[in-house]
């Protein structure tokens, strides 16, 4: 593990916001377990819990907390200067932080999604959701990491993307789905384990191309922004 990744991981888990990662996965698994315990037909709860909660809320919110935390917190408190005053290519810094964000988000979201998918249908659906969540964690993390370099309110803007773009427009304006990471995750999971619990609305080729464009584009943009990282003077 690189020194940048080590400091990032220690910083991430040393902050209170790391505790925010726990409730949503627990809620997801708890609701799924409750439905199974009361023998409710998975067709009645599966789409709501797996998609409505798991893919529309748990995965993006966890990726938002982690993705904005790995760099945004250091930008906020100024500790990023300690890393930036080293002769490290900015690409290496972004990749180390992205690696930590993807790893933490993927594990935190994929494990509960795997359990919930298994409880709803089969281990195959669990694996499909976990694989989709892993791909989603990559794209979301790259996007939210970039947001933390573009704005001083990355969490707010990230929530607007999750709730308004994906949650609202994604349901009513079909064109916006091509730019919805949630839809990529559904498409991947649906392809690996086709069930009537998940209905992919974006084709797999489009998903792969768009997820790659979002990830690579956001990462390259973040590297460029970090190269131009400025500290304001006293008069600004």
């Amino acid at each position: 593990m690189s020194t940048v990744a080590y400091i990032t991981a220690r910083g991430l888990f040393g902050r209170r916001r790391a505790l925010l990662l726990l409730p949503l996965p627990l809620l997801l698994v708890g609701l799924a377990a409750l439905c199974v315990a009361y023998d409710v037909n998975p067709r009645n709860w599966g789409p709501t819990v797996l998609v409505g909660l798991g893919l529309a809320v748990v995965l993006p919110v966890i990726a938002l907390i982690v993705g904005t935390g790995v760099l945004g917190s250091e930008v906020d408190d100024g500790t990023i200067v300690h890393i930036l005053t080293k002769p490290l290519p900015r690409r290496d810094i972004i990749l180390a932080k992205l690696g930590v964000a993807v790893g933490v988000s993927a594990v935190t979201a994929a494990v509960p999604l795997f359990i919930a998918g298994w409880l709803a249908d089969s281990p195959k659906l669990g694996l499909a959701l976990a694989a989709g969540a892993a791909v989603g964690a990559v794209a979301y993390s790259a996007f939210f990491l970039l947001l933390s370099l573009l704005t001083r309110r990355p969490v707010l803007l990230g929530l607007v993307y999750i709730l308004v773009w994906e949650g609202l427009l994604g349901r009513f304006v079909s064109g916006t789905r091509v730019l919805s990471i949630e839809q990529y995750v559904i498409a991947i999971a649906d392809r690996i384990a086709p069930t009537d619990l998940l209905v992919g609305q974006v084709g797999l080729p489009v998903t792969i191309v768009m997820a790659a464009i979002v990830t690579v584009g956001c990462t390259l943009f973040a590297v460029d922004r970090l190269r131009s990282f400025s500290m304001a003077g006293e008069t600004s």
């Binding site: 020194t3 940048v4 080590y6 400091i7 220690r10 910083g11 040393g14 408190d77 100024g78 500790t79 990023i80 200067v81 300690h82 890393i83 930036l84 005053t85 080293k86 002769p87 490290l88 290519p89 900015r90 190269r227 131009s228 990282f229 400025s230 500290m231 304001a232 003077g233 006293e234 008069t235 600004s236």
Partner: protein, 303 residues
């Protein structure tokens, strides 16, 4: 040995000009960057450190631009004013992490050496979150020195230090300067700069107001006219008596009392009680009205 070169550098934020057409070349030794708060010192330092792009002009370290050029950090160390440290690490972990990011061959030895330089060895295994402000500052200096940089930039480095730590830091900067390092530190306190450095760059309102040997600039500062506000039992008679005093260059009288301009601070403050006593006048108020640092710098700008 490193040289930093500012060539007609300006920096503005919208309509606000923070730094206005500043040119300077800094070589080995310690240089103080002096100026009142808000003068543009931090902006100059940030541009030198590659954390701000000049709106106009060029900032070069050994001929290389500092902006968007991380390679310069191999020979540059920065201690920014903002007290930003990873509080969850110990000082040793923090400085060793710096050494590793510099890809030094023996990070442990480099971290130990840097912590010894700032006298932080005893507390090096405690979390930085438990440190006083001065200890945090010394830890940050150790992290900036871990790769033995040729150029060291420090923004208000003595803030938060107690007198002993301050003396030690001044001694350290002097030693580094004598060894051929290029050191630039900013301060708004004249006495700090006087004790550390012979060369100063004075920034006032974003412009380079004076540059060169501190003693020469200090002489200009002490020779400036001093303004005093005075009230007495008989202002008019006192004004007549004062105008014949050699150190007094002007007297104004109004309802609030007298405003006296003195060309020599020491001579005037010694002569005033003698004159008042001789005239049988009781002094009720004596206030130096332009002793703020800003007024000293403004005078320099006009000189």
């Amino acid at each position: 040995m490193s040289t930093v070169d500012l060539q007609n550098v300006s920096r503005w934020y919208g309509n606000v000009v923070a730094v206005n057409d500043v040119s300077m070349t800094l070589g080995p030794g310690v240089t103080g960057l002096l100026g009142p708060n808000g003068a543009g010192k931090t902006t100059v330092l940030h541009m030198m450190a590659g954390f701000l792009s000049p709106s106009k002009g060029r900032v070069l370290l050994d001929g290389e631009p500092t902006w968007r050029n991380p390679a310069v950090y191999a020979k540059l160390g920065l201690v920014s004013e903002r007290e930003a440290v990873h509080t969850f690490l110990t000082a040793y972990e923090f400085v060793r992490a710096s050494a590793k990011m510099h890809k030094l061959p023996d990070p442990d030895a480099a971290a130990k050496r840097a912590l010894e330089l700032v006298e932080m060895t005893d507390a090096q295994d405690r979390r930085i979150g438990t440190y006083s402000k001065g200890m945090r500052q010394r830890t940050r200096v150790a992290a900036a020195l871990v790769h033995d940089p040729q150029m060291l930039l420090l923004d208000e480095p003595f803030n938060g230090m107690d007198p002993r730590q301050r003396m030690h830091m001044m001694d350290l900067l002097n030693k580094l300067g004598e060894r051929g390092h290029t050191i630039l530190f900013s301060s708004h306190i004249l006495e700090e700069v006087e004790q550390v450095s012979g060369a100063v760059q004075v920034i006032v309102a974003g412009r380079l107001a004076a540059s060169g040997d501190f003693r020469e600039i200090r002489r200009l500062m002490t020779n400036r006219p001093h303004v005093f506000a005075l009230q007495s039992s008989d202002d008019r008679r006192l004004a007549v008596a004062l105008i014949s005093e050699k150190s007094v260059s002007g007297v104004e009288i109004d309802n609030a009392g007298l405003t006296v301009r003195a060309s020599d601070y020491g001579s005037f403050t010694r002569a005033l009680p003698r004159i008042a006593l001789g005239e049988g006048i009781r002094l009720r108020k004596l206030l130096p009205s332009d002793e703020s640092l800003e007024s000293v710098f403004s005078y320099l700008l006009e000189a």
